[in-house]
């Protein structure tokens, strides 16, 4: 399969240098999607005509000698919870089955400015609630490495589309691990930037305090390239970080990992961690050491069940409020029969939301209701504050934290779907970065005996994207050297 991969960097250089045209690239990717997606199920909407029109416009620019953007002709798939003007955006929910946004998310605008080609919208867990893409109201997405297994989630469609070579780049969203875990499951690179680095304007909110958009790519280099395009201050997002952004994360990367102080949290290596994953991570740690990193095993003294509880309370609470707007009045699904407006709202919501969404809304409502607020919500907020402080301490001594991305290997479709408690465990290594607003990346670090991908996670301090990307890049290069 790997011979099919062509990186975003190569495409944009090739298109700009007229080695091939944007239309050729777009057509070849569309035909790849048409040939493979029946089996994979990564896409919910394919924008064939719009994509070709965009590609033609880019080719025209080039033929007229006008400058083109950093992603010239690069086909990009967008997770279906990111708004695209005039293109159906469903959140994989019956609620938004026919919803046409009247505007583009800021990230989409930024991709278009750099001449990327929006090729389609990808499948996901309904409203990004889930870790397997199985809660989608529309279709199952299969793991390209083993079709009987899930691609992870909630950005499962975005990860699978890249892993299957249908696009070199996709965008996902990550509230508790929804980019990194599917990246790990599908063997691609996935990054959640520092909270506030990428505008959330146009991202259909799950938990506003933790949601962040990020790239899923074939390589670390592409990941850096895409992040450079989509990041930046946005005056439409109050939580957007102002200030200077690094425009070339991999510049001067010859130093690589040498001298980096990397913290290995002992807390991440408990009996709940899959053995093969633990083995692959330990191998990787040796590789990092070999590359010159100073490795230190430390206890973060954080309890995973506390993390998951706090994370769950915050996500459900915020989601219960964010999803209140789906009432069938101005947009979205409207029930067919109702006596009055109250019934219209109640029936529309009850008929259109799936079980997982209802479960999280009810839980969130429960956590916020006056009799439970202090016990759950206040506690979770305080826990988050304490966790932020704990991470700040760690990062005063270390450059990065290194550990597994997911506690398990990709599981079988249907295997866990009825066990929400177990499904929640999926976020145990990824959610801390969301709670603390930290940047984190998952990079492939090997495979299981059965050939299932394993992901390694690097977590950095606030705005530590550069260190993460440079370390991941050096690691990835070293891995490839060995393969060759």
């Amino acid at each position: 399969m790997s011979s099919d991969f062509i990186s975003a960097g190569r495409i944009s250089r090739g298109v700009a240098g007229k080695s091939f045209s944007a239309v050729e690239i777009t057509e070849s990717h569309i035909s790849k999607i048409k040939a493979n997606d029946e089996k994979i199920g990564a896409f919910l909407t394919l924008c064939e005509e719009d994509a070709l029109a965009q590609a033609r416009a880019i080719d025209k620019k080039i033929s007229e000698g006008r400058p083109v953007g950093k992603l010239a002709g690069v086909p990009v798939a967008i997770k279906d919870n990111i708004c695209t003007d005039g293109i159906r955006t469903t959140c994989a929910s019956k609620m938004l089955e026919d919803f046409i946004p009247p505007y583009n998310a800021t990230v989409v605008e930024k991709l278009l400015e750099e001449d990327a080609v929006i090729i389609g919208k990808t499948n996901m867990d309904e409203f990004a609630m889930g870790s397997s893409t199985e809660t989608s109201a529309f279709r199952i997405t299969r793991n390209p490495h083993d079709a009987s297994r899930v691609p992870g989630g909630s950005s499962g469609g975005s990860a699978a589309a890249v892993a299957a070579g249908m696009v070199p780049v996709s965008l996902g969203t990550d509230t508790g691990g929804s980019i990194r875990q599917p990246a790990a499951f599908c063997g691609v690179v996935g990054m959640k930037p520092t909270y506030g680095t990428v505008s959330r304007y146009g991202l259909i909110g799950l938990a506003s305090s933790m949601d962040q958009i990020g790239p899923l790519t074939v390589s670390v280099e592409d990941c850096a390239l895409v992040l450079e395009v989509i990041q930046g201050y946005d005056k439409k997002d109050s939580t957007s970080c102002c200030g200077e952004y690094d425009k070339d994360y991999l510049s001067g990367s010859t130093e690589g990992i040498r001298g980096m102080k990397i913290c290995i949290p002992e807390d991440f290596f408990t009996e709940s961690l899959d053995e093969e994953t633990a083995f692959a991570i330990n191998e990787s740690i040796r590789r990092f050491e070999h590359l010159g990193a100073e490795i230190e095993k430390v206890s973060l003294s954080i309890d995973h069940s506390d993390i998951l509880s706090a994370y769950n309370v915050l996500v459900c609470a915020e989601a219960s409020s964010n999803l209140g707007r789906y009432d069938g009045i101005c947009y979205g699904y409207r029930a067919k029969e109702y006596e009055n407006t109250d019934e219209l709202i109640e029936k529309s919501r009850s008929e259109a939301f799936g079980d997982e969404v209802k479960r999280e809304i009810i839980l969130g409502t429960y956590f916020l209701s006056s009799s439970n607020y202090d016990r759950y919500y206040s506690r979770a907020v305080k826990y988050r504050t304490a966790l932020k402080r704990r991470f700040a301490e760690i990062f005063s001594r270390y450059d990065l934290i290194l550990g597994p991305t997911a506690p398990v290997l990709p599981f079988r479709i249907g295997e866990w779907v009825n066990d929400p408690v177990k499904m929640n465990q999926m976020d145990m290594y990824t959610a801390p970065a969301n709670l603390a607003g930290l940047p984190a990346l998952s990079v492939p670090c090997g495979t299981s005996r059965a050939g299932l991908p394993i992901g390694l996670q690097l977590i950095g301090p606030h705005h530590g994207e550069r260190a993460i990307l440079q370390a991941a890049y050096a690691f990835e290069q070293d891995m490839h050297k060995e393969v060759i």
Binding site: N81, I82, C83, T89, C91, L96, F99, P101, P102, Y103, A105, R200, Y201, G202, L203, I204, G205, A207, S208, S209, K235, K236, D237, S238, T239, A317, E318, S320, S321, G324, R325, D327, I329, C330, Y331, T341, D342, I345, T365, L368, S369, S370, Y373, Y377, V381
Partner: protein, 477 residues
């Protein structure tokens, strides 16, 4: 047993901004429903609020004008409930960290010195408007108002009569108008007032059950609604049925002149307030507060003091004038044009106020130019027209416009001061009233008044009375 009335108010005032609180949509009144909407105020999926900086400035200004403490860090919370006028299913408001706290307004009312403490001022957004169809089973939704910035001012229960509540609201309105914080158009809903009222026996320390009154949209209604509710509660206590007073919200029906129960405490919603993480905390530092403080104009109390000292107005006159920003500005503009303060005050508080009341025109839309009133005053003072004619000219200026000179000319109201013309009239009156003439000559000085009156009548009020008097004396020797 004698009872004491306890009243606290919650006032919503629309802030004076060009754009909505979290998006760029216009706050101007639009005749077309949903004309002033965008993805943000319609709560389209994926949209985010961004705070209008002027909203913060105006809220701080209100806080300073009401002697509040300004909180350097405040935050926004979501108040969650479902209603078709609320597109996000939550209202962005401030719950436990409002922008201003602990203020006070002091005034005199019916011989009592009243100090109304302000508990808090917080910022929030307005909801849309529902239009209920008369004969059809439909409601129509218009989101033009959704996202209009408001402040809610909450007082402590410091008012002891409906009159005190109305007086407080008048003062508050004038402060907000002076500060250009809000238009305060009660009739259009840009100033709305809810009232909490309870009754307790005089001497009792703790409060009894309170009732909240909603849907009050004028001072008169506030007074009426409170009086009605006061009476209802007092009667229940009198007949030992105080337990029938339950904590509830009652809607004032102005047409029927009574309150109707909307919901009791038991039915109250659980709003699940929690911080809105789409917005960052509002941080305002001391220099910014100082700058806003400097921008505060003279407020009603100061202006009152100045009017009594500088213009030597009576306490009552100054009170009424300064109670209304527009009236006070009109008065002062007229004086600046050269009118004598006393005369200007008399005209503004007399004819002007009467005409405003009769016509229903709000004081911010006074249809007369200060300079024209000033000229009218000087015409009267100079004797060019009589006082009566002056009133007629004013009425004409107010209703149809025009300069005082044009109106005097058109209506032929100019005072007759020509000695020849007056002498002719005087002679005629002497001729026609021999009885009065002889009475006068026999020492009945009162007859003089009658004769002057006759000359005035013959001139249809235009004769210069002083000259008429003089000429008559001369003729009668």
């Amino acid at each position: 047993m004698s009872f004491e009335t306890i009243i606290g108010l919650e006032i919503h005032a629309e802030l004076n901004t060009k754009s909505k609180i979290f998006c760029g949509c216009s706050t101007e009144f639009a005749s077309e429903p949903n004309a002033n909407t965008c993805p943000v105020c319609l709560a389209y999926p994926g949209t985010l609020p961004v705070l209008n900086e002027r909203v913060v400035d105006l809220a701080v200004k209100a806080g300073l004008a009401l002697n509040c403490k300004i909180n350097h860090v405040s935050k926004f919370d979501r108040k969650n409930y479902f209603y078709p006028d609320l597109p996000k299913a939550y209202q962005i408001s401030q719950f436990d960290l409002p922008i201003c706290t602990d203020g006070a307004v002091e005034f005199e009312c019916a011989g009592r010195h009243v100090r109304v403490r302000i508990n808090r001022i917080h910022i929030e957004e307005d909801a849309g408007k529902l239009v209920h169809m008369e004969d059809e089973p439909y409601t129509l939704v218009d989101y033009n108002r959704a996202g209009i910035p408001l402040i809610e001012i909450v007082t402590e229960p410091d008012m002891r009569s409906p009159l005190e509540a109305v007086t407080f609201l008048r003062i508050l309105k004038s402060i907000l108008e002076y500060g250009e914080i809000s238009d305060c158009r009660m009739e259009q809903g840009s100033l709305r007032c809810d009232a909490n009222i309870s009754i307790r026996p005089v001497g009792q320390k703790e409060f009894n059950t309170k009732v909240e009154l909603k849907n009050i949209n004028s001072f008169r209604e506030l007074q009426k609604a409170l009086e009605k509710e006061e009476k209802r509660q007092v009667e229940l206590y009198r007949f030992d049925e105080g337990h029938k007073i339950v904590q509830e919200t009652r809607r004032w029906d102005s047409a029927k002149g009574r309150t109707i129960s909307m919901r009791t405490k038991e039915e109250a919603q659980d709003y699940r307030y929690f911080p809105d993480s789409d917005l960052v905390p509002v941080v305002i530092d001391e220099p910014a507060v100082a700058e806003i403080k400097n921008s505060l104009p003279e407020l009603p109390m100061e202006k009152y003091r100045r009017f009594t000292e500088e213009y030597k107005l009576s306490a009552d006159d100054a009170d009424i004038l300064t109670g209304d920003r527009y009236l006070s500005e009109f008065f002062e503009d007229t004086v600046r044009e050269g009118a004598a303060p006393k005369a200007a005050a008399n005209w503004v508080l007399g004819d002007m106020l009467r005409m405003l009341n009769e016509s229903g025109i709000p004081s911010r839309e006074i249809p007369v130019e200060p300079i024209r009133l000033c000229r009218l005053i000087s015409m009267v003072e100079a004797g060019k027209i009589s006082n009566t004619a002056g009133k007629e000219v004013f009425k004409e200026m107010f209703t149809s416009g025009g300069t005082p000179e044009e109106i005097v000319e058109k209506k032929g109201l100019a005072q007759i001061s020509s000695e020849d013309a007056l002498l002719e009239m005087v002679k005629k009156v002497i001729e026609e009233n021999p009885k009065s003439v002889s009475d006068y000559r026999n020492g009945k000085t009162k007859a003089m008044g009658y004769l002057v009156g006759q000359v005035m009548k013959a001139s249809r009020g235009r004769a210069n009375p002083a000259m008429v008097n003089e000429l008559l004396m001369k003729e009668l020797g």
